[in-house]
C-alpha cells in the first residue's frame, strides 16, 4: 500500500518536473527567430505547427549530431509525445486543453527548427575546417 502511494506521488511529481524542464528548454529557444535557410529547408514560414515536428526531426537526423544537443532533443521529443497523448485523451473532455497542447506542440517544432539551424551552421563550419586542411 505504502509503495503504491509512493509510486503514484512520485509519478505525479515526475510529470510536473518533466513538463517544467522541457518548457525551460523550449522557452530559451522561443526567442530565437528561424533563419531564412531553415525556413527554406523546412517550409515553415512564421508559426511552426505540430504537424511539422516529425519532418523537422527527420531533417535533424540528416545533419551531423552535436553531442550536447542529443539529450534535449530526446527530452522535447518525449514531451511532444506526452502532449499528443494529452490531446487525444483529456482534450476531448476539456477543449481549452486542446488549444494549449497545440500551442505547446508548435513550440516543440520551433525548438527542433532552431536546433536544425544550429546543426546546419555546425556542419558548415566542419566542412570549412576540412576544406582548410
Amino acid at each position: 500500500m505504502m509503495a503504491a502511494l509512493i509510486l503514484v506521488f512520485s509519478i505525479l511529481v515526475l510529470l510536473q518536473f518533466f513538463v517544467s524542464y522541457c518548457r525551460s528548454l523550449i522557452v530559451a529557444s522561443s526567442r530565437e527567430p528561424l533563419s531564412e535557410e531553415v525556413q527554406d529547408v523546412t517550409g515553415i514560414s512564421r508559426n511552426p505547427s505540430a504537424d511539422d515536428f516529425v519532418r523537422v526531426v527527420q531533417l535533424l537526423r540528416l545533419c551531423p549530431e552535436r553531442p550536447e544537443e542529443r539529450g534535449e532533443i530526446k527530452a522535447v521529443g518525449a514531451y511532444f509525445r506526452i502532449l499528443g497523448v494529452l490531446r487525444s485523451t483529456v482534450a476531448r473532455l476539456i477543449p481549452s486543453v486542446k488549444s494549449w497542447a497545440d500551442l505547446e506542440r508548435g513550440q516543440c517544432t520551433h525548438f527542433a527548427a532552431v536546433v536544425l539551424g544550429r546543426r546546419i551552421t555546425f556542419s558548415r563550419s566542419l566542412l570549412a575546417q576540412q576544406m582548410d586542411t
Partner: protein, 232 residues
C-alpha cells in the same frame, strides 16, 4: 558477475559525472555551485574507489558490499547538501539563507534519528542497516524538499535559468528514483527490467547538469510563469 553492459554503465556514468565538473570549471561556475560540483567530484572519486575495491575483492565480497553502501550513504548526504545549497541560493535574495542552512542540518539530524528508530531492534549489523535506511529516507526527503524548492522558485519568481534547470533536473532525478524504489517493492520479480532501468536513471542527473553548466550562461534569465504546468 558483471557483464559488458554493467562495465559500460559504470564507465559512461563516471565520465558523465566528470563532465559536470569539467563543464562547470570551463564556464567558471565551480565556486558558484560549490556543493553541486563537490557532489559530482565525490561521485567520480568514489566510483573509481569502488572499482578498485571490486577489482581487489570481487563483486560478491563483503568488502565491496560494505564499501558500496557506505560510499552511497556519503554521496546521498553530499547530494542533500547540494540541494541545501540550491535552497540557500534561492532564499539568499530575501536574506533567509541562514535559516535554510540551520533547518537543513536539523532535518538531516531528524532523518538520522528516525532511521535509527526504524533499525534499532536489529541485533546484528546495526550500523550497516542504519546507513542503508538513512540513505533511502534521505532520498525521499530530498524529493519532497526539491518539490518545496520548486514551489518557492515559482512563488519568488526566480529567473536564473541555470539555477532553475539544476533544480528541475534534481526533481526529475529524485522522483525517478522514488518511482524505481516503489516499483521494486511492488514488483520485485521484474529484476531484469530494474537491472537496465536503474543505471539509466543515474545518467540523467549528470547529463542534465552538464548541459546546464555548458549551455546556459549564469546571466541567462527566463520568466517562471512560462514554466508552470497550469498556464497562468
Amino acid at each position: 558477475m558483471l557483464g559488458p553492459f554493467d562495465y559500460a554503465v559504470w564507465f559512461i556514468g563516471t565520465l558523465c559525472e566528470a563532465a559536470v565538473v569539467v563543464c562547470a570549471l570551463r564556464r567558471k561556475a565551480l565556486r558558484l555551485y560549490l556543493f553541486v560540483n563537490l557532489y559530482m567530484a565525490a561521485s567520480v572519486l568514489l566510483s573509481l574507489a569502488r572499482f578498485n575495491v571490486f577489482e581487489s575483492y570481487g563483486f560478491s565480497s563483503p568488502q565491496y558490499c560494505y564499501f558500496y553502501y557506505y560510499s552511497d550513504a556519503t554521496l546521498t548526504i553530499l547530494l542533500y547538501f547540494a540541494l541545501t545549497s540550491l535552497f540557500a541560493k534561492v532564499f539568499d535574495e530575501i536574506g533567509a539563507d541562514h535559516y535554510v542552512k540551520y533547518g537543513a542540518i536539523l532535518l538531516l539530524l531528524g532523518t538520522a534519528i528516525f532511521s535509527y528508530g526504524v533499525v534499532q531492534q536489529s541485533s546484528d549489523k546495526l550500523l550497516t542497516k542504519f546507513v542503508v535506511e538513512m540513505s533511502q529516507n534521505l532520498y525521499f526527503v530530498g524529493m519532497v524538499l526539491t518539490y518545496i524548492l520548486w514551489a518557492a522558485i515559482m512563488k519568488l519568481r526566480e529567473t536564473r535559468t541555470r539555477l532553475i534547470q539544476l533544480v528541475l533536473a534534481l526533481g526529475i532525478y529524485f522522483s525517478l528514483h522514488a518511482a524505481d524504489y516503489a516499483l521494486r517493492n511492488l514488483y520485485p520479480q521484474m529484476y531484469s527490467v530494474y537491472h537496465v532501468l536503474t543505471p539509466l536513471i543515474g545518467f540523467f542527473l549528470p547529463l542534465a547538469w552538464a548541459y546546464a553548466f555548458w549551455r546556459l550562461p549564469e546571466e541567462a534569465r527566463l520568466a517562471t510563469s512560462r514554466l508552470a504546468v497550469i498556464p497562468r
